[in-house]
Assembly symmetry: C2
Homo-oligomer: 478 residues x 2
């Protein structure tokens, strides 16, 4: 049990230093290792397995809504990046430039894609001719690069993995419908799979994507009261279509511009999982994304029949869950800590006394509650427990989010709240960017979104006191 | 039917110009589109869906053999690339260099990974300490970049998608076992899934991977008699371990170097599928990788009950196969050509007369054979047919490969054969690189592999006439 203690003690408590706690968890749970490349991370097997589960579920949702996967080049010629003015201004300062191929200097430098709007537009201009070619509902899974100054694993890295959906539609209405549809896909995924409740809304013009007509977002709240932008969906209108000349002949034989959208979700959601569900013993993973849902730990494994029974249980459970047995020569207490650190939802202990009584001990990672179950009903109980944990994590996260969501009517109140009890602040806004800037300057909080579900908190802007009709979610953000 | 003709006529016959036929197929089957980035291709939905099927099957085989997926950075600092001498000499001339991040010039340039041995080694040096940490059985799916002068879709592009396995072992024996195990995984995958027969063997020293102790390969033969290196598996010995100082403490408390392997397969296998199975009507896809296994074409679909029945059939078949219905307003003949071009294994036609007789017409893409089947046994018949096509394609490809495999005892014979009837040439080799060079110079053929299954063709080297014990497969290669 000495080993057990040691492993736990190595983590900083989240109340002492949340940032250090986060760093400790990503390392000790073996999600990530730093690399020799500044700002880039190595995603280790356990971290990558979470990403694979995220991918698999999201990809099925994309396909169920009619999307197809493609793969675009990772390079964008400078001239192509420059075709849409706002877009290039937004991204050019933070891209990596390839200037040489082998020994030869390139005549035109290439940037490593920070996002692929320009490549998709270039492609769409080539393949869209008639209304029969629409809609185009494409997605790609890839890595992108943004030259960030300060980086943190999963949350902000120079290179990250993501998916980017890019669609083209005949009408503005269809594009808007797609934009909201995919925002809802993200929101449902976050709640149903990651057990992370989100606020859905529109970004202010200041915060919208470079080149978009409107950006929609889902925002989640971390344990430390900071907000995390968790997925965005952009309606481009026909701006890119004009810049790239993407036109089609409609049924009425008229040439028309297409209307486009894009939407993305990234490996930063692994950071969200850590910061929403984790505790001072490490990760806590919702069963639906956990690489390992049940770990079987034999107790007194040297005694006759224990390993045999433990393996039999493992075999039985592997038909209904992702399960492994740890029969290594480490002490059980050490193993307990290790799988707690890794956030495995259920630990199953089986020892000689349990075998005698035809039972096993199940321990929940989230509540640490112990349940003694008969081996005759093991499959039912484990299935039930995993569902219960999944549900419980969402409820707990929602309660936490709600407990950290405040209202402010005046700027003083706003400032006091954000400093003393960080979280989401609901406050009215007149719509003027000057007030948005002022709030950021005074409080460090940015507008997270104008939520779809509005509430009338007052009729005055929290900043200037002018007439305000929009309630905005504000917060300090990752 | 005029449209039908037109679509087919647009393809060059493979006997007239094989290279042009290939280019026509990749474009017309909508596998690939050229991009604004020189040497890079856009993999379109139909092409990418083939890759997804390849990935899914291979990935399951990797996991079944104990491998885990990870993700490494896409950049390699110059100093890291230079750590292993032969490796850097092999790759430095063909890498893309990032020299600027945003506006800032980098103090050390980064190459875009052409392969990731150096990154894995760097990581292994950090995480391997004890024999308990071994073996490490890692794989990653990613894209890599090699600055090629001339490119062809799937076969040779500046950027391509692949998987690269990288493993570290305690002993030389384990590393050798892994190297051969993964070569066999590739060979079985090619035969069982892609229906492509391969020759397994070792590369000569001249042809081995930069930095490897031994490279093993699977070689397949295309319709035009050219060879395609289809997968390679390298045994690195402890060369990289010395260069990167990857040591572990063994059970006997001694510090030892690890032994490593790497192995890769790429999107070029889509090129192999085209060139092994395709014909003058386009692609022919083995059912196991076909994005679409059955296409349902309603005949006289405006007549009452036809669409209804066709949809009912589609629903039934979608439980056992990847199926879609094409009820667009194109002529049936046009649709036939389109799905032939795309290589869909089975076409199902259903019209008013069929409905009357409670039957459907199944047409095989490979042999164009028509089968009339009762709707009562549709599922069984389709399942059977798909299996039969899968098996038949492998047999046909094997027969083709065998018919294009020759023997040569003298260099004259070798030259005459390779020029008149391109294919694999089996010939003896003394082991001297000078003869290998001479053969290439005289015939354009390179050594493909020293096959595991040896045959004694003569006891003299085909080139110098000296004593020869090794039979080598030679061929002109992609």
């Amino acid at each position: 049990m000495a080993n057990d203690k040691k492993l736990v003690e190595e983590i900083t408590s989240m109340n002492v230093d949340f940032a250090q706690w986060y760093t400790d968890v990503v390392k000790k749970a073996e999600l990530v290792e730093y690399s020799s490349v500044r700002g880039c991370m190595i995603i280790r097997p356990y971290g990558y397995a979470i990403w694979e589960n995220i991918q698999k579920d999201l990809d099925a949702r994309f396909k169920a809504t009619g999307h197809e996967n493609v793969y675009m080049p990772m390079f964008i010629p400078e001239s192509l990046l420059q075709k849409e003015k706002e877009h290039v201004e937004g991204f050019a300062p933070e891209v990596a430039w390839v200037t040489h191929g082998g020994a030869e200097k390139l005549t035109e430098k290439l940037c490593v894609r920070p996002t692929s709007e320009t490549l998709f537009c270039d492609h769409y201009a080539n393949i869209i001719h008639s209304y029969r070619d629409l809609p185009k509902l494409y997605n790609q899974w890839c890595s992108v690069v943004r030259w960030e100054k300060t980086t943190r694993p999963f949350l902000r890295t120079m290179e990250f993995l993501w998916q980017e959906g890019h669609t083209a539609h005949a009408t503005a209405e269809e594009a808007q419908e797609e934009t909201i549809k995919m925002l809802n896909v993200y929101a449902n995924f976050c709640e149903e799979v990651l057990a992370i409740p989100v606020v859905k809304g529109r970004k202010t013009d200041k915060e919208k994507f470079a080149g978009a007509k409107a950006t929609y977002t889902i925002e989640s709240l971390m344990h430390d009261g900071k907000a995390l932008q968790s997925g965005t969906s952009h309606n481009f209108g026909d701006g890119f279509a004009h810049a790239f000349d993407i036109q089609y002949t409609d049924k009425d034989n008229q040439l028309k511009y297409v209307h486009q959208t894009s939407w993305g979700m990234t490996t930063r959601m692994i950071g969200a999982l850590i910061m929403v569900h984790g505790d001072d013993s490490g990760l806590v993973l919702p069963p639906m994304v956990a690489p390992l849902q049940v770990v079987v730990i034999p107790i007194a494994q040297h005694k006759e029949g224990v390993l045999e029974k433990a393996n039999e249980i493992k075999e039985r459970l592997s038909r209904i869950a992702r399960v492994k047995i740890d029969d290594s020569d480490k002490m059980p207490g050490w193993k307990f800590s290790e799988y707690e650190m890794k956030g495995v939802p259920v630990r199953l202990e089986i020892g000689p006394k349990d075998i005698e009584k035809n039972q096993a001990v199940l321990v929940r990672r989230d509540s640490r509650e112990k349940l003694i179950v008969s081996l005759d009903e093991l499959e039912e109980k484990v299935t039930e427990l995993l569902k219960d944990i999944q549900k419980g994590l969402l409820e707990k996260a929602r309660a936490l989010r709600d407990s950290k969501t405040y209202r402010a009517v005046t700027l003083d109140e706003f400032e006091k709240t954000i400093n003393e009890t960080p979280g989401f602040i609901k406050a009215m806004w007149c719509g003027d960017q000057k007030c948005e800037d002022m709030i950021k300057e005074k409080t460090g909080a940015t507008s997270r979104c104008i939520p779809f579900e509005q509430e009338n908190i007052s009729d005055k802007c929290v900043c200037c006191g002018g007439k305000a009709e929009k309630m905005v979610f504000w917060g300090k953000a990752y």
